[in-house]
Amino acid sequence: MSDFTLDTFVEHQARAASRSKFNLVRFKKITQVGVKSIFSHGLRSMLTVLGIVIGVAAVIAMLAVSEGASFEAQQQFRDLGASNILIKSVKPAAVEESTQRGFGPPQAVIYGLTNADITTIRDTIPGVSNVIASRIVKKNVWNLGISMNTDVVGTAVDYPISRNYNLRAGRFFSESEMRDHANVVVLSDEVASELFPIDNPLGNSIKIDSDYYNVVGIMESEGFSNLGQNQAGSSNAAPSRVFIPFTASKSRFGETTTRQTAGGMESETVELHEAIIQVEDQEAVIEVGEIIDQILQRRHRDVDYTIEIPLALLRQAEESALRDQIVAGAIAGISLLVGGIGIMNIMLASVTERTREIGIRRALGAKKRDIIAQFLVEAVILSGVGGLIGVVLGIIIPFVISIFWGMTTIVTPVAPILAFSISAMIGVVFGIYPSMRAADMDPVEALRHE
């Protein structure tokens, strides 16, 4: 304790400075102190953490649900084929009115797409690679004593490929069967399981009207698209369908289909119910759709058809999905923000409560940045732990939702990473002000604090 010169003091300070540089030991100590103080207010800390947990879990879960919903919607349109255009026959509103007017014998309404339309489209529009026309007739389909009322779709051999439908078993009918007007049928899943609860339908036959048809394949059920549920005659929305060659449909059920409804008060004649137009270049789909619309407008007196372009609908779905996600993310983000405010509140309380401790630490050599580090670490621990629990919950919740409600949920890896980083950032952002307040306290005042 003898002479004391500047040199030795500078040396000492240099040593202290080099020692007090950020290092793991120091970080560990600060973290230990932080954890201790968090645990010394167990309930309070838990409630604070809960705010972040809910926020993070909500962000991930909401994004997962909206991602899943948009995936489902987009999948439906994708199922229709991105390079396809769908035309369907619709009973025109004007005709509907006229038939309902007055009494007298039921009048047959003639509307819809014709074979001539299809030929025109196929032959005159460049870029159309294939047109698959279908006739849909509602019939009772029998296997021995079991019957089912279903749509009998007369269509082309390319039908499943054009709409991305898969066969579950067997095969679709062939070109030669088409040429031969063969009595072969492909069942949809629902029809197969209804009519053949025990047997394998393949190789068996079903009866429609008075004819027997050999079952050659079973189609995977895909809901047959929710699009165009409104179609008058075709009852397109029916989940159960059977498919027979277009040629067979023509020869068994006639050139035009006549359907009687409501006790025979209404009768209608439709040549074709729907057509799928395949376009070579996906880029041209929307343009081709417009041309088809122009052609059909010229050829039809009434608007007795609809044109659906899955690609356009897909684009719309993508746009609205993005909008949904932004809204969902914003709502969840708000709860995260509220969680952050909770952390700030608790940190401010903690700073006030520990004023004396801050004074002691300052007196014993803690620099302002030491105090900042200590409170900031605490805030980050709170929000980080909350974030971790939130991520776990946020992954479990969509999983539970999809099990119990059968909704498609998709947790993209981005969502948990994003939510966790935001929560950690919230710890810093909302912890910095209380920490600075702690550091800026006058040590003398702080020591005097009771």
């Binding site: 304790m1 002479d3 004391f4 201790k36 300052r362 050599g365 803690a366 620099k367 040590p443």
Partner: protein, 250 residues
């Protein structure tokens, strides 16, 4: 920059009780402290000049409001004088910023408070280690130092006790061990026995005597004449000025 010895050799300030060969560890030069409260300003220290020598044992006495606490805060680098210079070692602390003052407090000063001021969540050993942490000592280093000090103040069997599990006297001994941790230039004690019963107080004073005997420099603020009697130099303040400054013992 000059050392304090050469500085004092200029003989600017006559100091009572100068002991030949002793170096100055702290010097106050015309310290004034003014508090501002809105438009109001109150000067509580009116130019205090004092030298403190290495290894001395000093008591600062005076009635309430005489400026003792303010002076102690300035000596402890917790507060800075409005005017005047305070040299601690060779450093003019009036020129230092907040970080440097923190550094000086941590490295060069030891504090002992009336109300012990231990940190409640930390146990005895951790409390003693705390100043070392801020000086960047390694865990093993600070552990070793803290163990030695705990033994020195007779608490080696209470290392993992929290402050609330200790008596007042024991808590104050922890505080003394903590103040000694960085081997400070000066130990500042503010009414160290004020909250203690006679017996515990006597033990603490005995410890102070020992520290003095080992060559530590102690400055103690007290109300008690009896306590001041034990010190070597007694400074009395009144109304922010030095009323008397006597050497009691050689």
């Amino acid at each position: 920059m000059t050392t304090l010895d050469s500085h004092s050799a200029q003989g600017a300030i006559p100091s009572p009780g100068l002991v030949a060969g002793q170096s100055v560890v702290a010097r106050l030069e015309d310290i004034r402290k003014t508090y501002y409260m809105g438009a109001l300003s109150v000067e509580v220290l009116h130019g205090i000049s004092l030298d403190f020598y290495a290894g001395d044992y000093i008591s600062i006495m005076g009635p309430s409001g005489c400026g003792k606490s303010t002076l102690m805060n300035i000596l402890g680098c917790l507060d800075q004088a409005t005017e005047g210079k305070y040299y601690l070692g060779s450093e003019d602390t009036s020129q230092l910023g907040d970080d440097e003052l923190s550094g000086i407090r941590g490295a060069r000063l030891g504090f002992i408070f009336q109300s012990y001021n231990l940190i409640q969540q930390l146990d005895v050993l951790e409390n003693i280690e705390m100043p070392l942490f801020y000086q960047g000592y390694s865990e093993s280093e600070s552990h070793e130092i803290a163990m030695g000090l705990a033994e020195r103040v007779g608490l080696e069997d209470r290392l993992d006790h929290k402050p609330f599990e200790l008596s007042g006297g024991q808590q104050q001994r922890v505080a003394i061990a903590r103040a000694l941790a960085v081997d400070p230039l000066i130990i500042l004690a503010d009414e160290p026995t004020g909250n203690l019963d006679t017996k515990s107080g006597a033990e603490i004073l005995k410890l102070f005597d020992d520290l003095h005997a080992q060559g530590k420099t102690l400055i103690m603020v007290t109300h008690s004449d009896e306590l001041a009697e034990r010190t070597k130099r007694e400074i009395r303040l009144i109304d922010g000025t030095v009323e008397s400054d006597e050497r009691l013992h050689a």
